[in-house]
Symmetry: C2
């Protein structure tokens, strides 16, 4: 998608300029990941009559804040008077929910659909619009992923985006439970909505 | 524990009278279950310097409401202005949280420790006192239980009640996730407190 021309004023520069910002802000490994997520997000958007430009931007920036320090997130939560419960969590939760604030402020991206898809890309949500599902699933199935089950996830993603949201949520939750990791409560609401009977 | 004499005025009658009430209100299978839970609860109380009489009463009555109709629970939730979100759930959640109200009203048991242990016996909670843990674990390990893992659960229960609370919570949650069953959000808070790192 190197020839994609941004024409909807969602980002103030070109795609190449946005890619360059990410290249400068992320490790090589994560930079490759966001390029892969962009690619999957665009494919999923094409497959679901979604917005290609938003898919590109959201895919590229979804991990924009992932390598920021804990202190950056903590001070952002405090300065913006975000839910103080966020302070009990860590990078895995912060880089989406708080990361969207950094994206807004630093990249000048103000589009609600894009920012919401960043907020929801780790935990999912009961309410998920098309772009939310695209980013959530693209992050899980991008071509660099190698976990057991990824082939089934990719197949599902192009058959039914909703089913893929459920598959991913169940997979993530099982992993967290099996490895005794704390579960962000919203993840259970996502499970109850997209997986449970 | 047929010779246990109730002497603390927690229940207005004798143990035998309470057992008779349960025999009349429960199916034979569930009646046997509550006798088993009482037995395990007393053993766990003895092992942890807990209150034997409360363990007996709570063990016997924890499923007092389990065979009541959905309509009974729904009207109780409404009449007592309980959290309307409860209406989105079912017997598995109601028989503890709403069941404690029926126990209070119909059996005249007003002891906070006992009623709280009934409320928490299905979902657990972040805050669990000794009796809460005893009833929660006794329900899981009583001698009629045959699920894979019950032997390990019994062993843990007499080594560390806290570890047994964690083991049970993880086991229950894994089952719910694997079988695509809705998870009551409080169960995740219990998991985060008693299992997760």
């Amino acid at each position: 998608m190197n020839n994609l021309v941004y024409s909807n004023n969602l980002f103030s520069g070109t795609r190449e300029e946005l890619v360059q910002i990410l290249k400068e802000n992320l490790s090589e490994k994560r930079f490759q990941h966001v390029l892969n997520v962009e690619k999957s997000a665009i494919e999923l958007a094409q497959n679901n009559n979604g917005d290609i430009e938003r898919a590109s931007i959201a895919g590229l920036i979804h991990d924009y804040a992932k390598e920021r320090t804990d202190d950056t997130f903590i001070s952002t939560i405090k300065q913006k008077h975000m839910d103080p419960d966020l302070l009990n969590w860590g990078n895995a939760i912060w880089h989406g929910i708080v990361g969207a604030e950094l994206i807004h402020d630093e990249l000048g991206i103000t589009d609600d659909k894009i920012l919401t898809s960043i907020v929801k890309h780790t935990t999912g949500d009961v309410e998920m619009e098309l772009l939310d599902k695209i980013v959530y699933v693209a992050d899980f199935i991008e071509e660099g992923r190698t976990f057991p089950g990824v082939l089934e996830a990719r197949k599902k993603a192009f058959e039914s985006l909703d089913a893929a949201v459920g598959f991913e949520t169940k997979h993530t939750l099982s992993y967290l439970i099996n490895t005794n990791k704390r579960v962000y409560p919203k993840t259970i609401l996502t499970f109850n909505k997209w997986v449970a009977e």
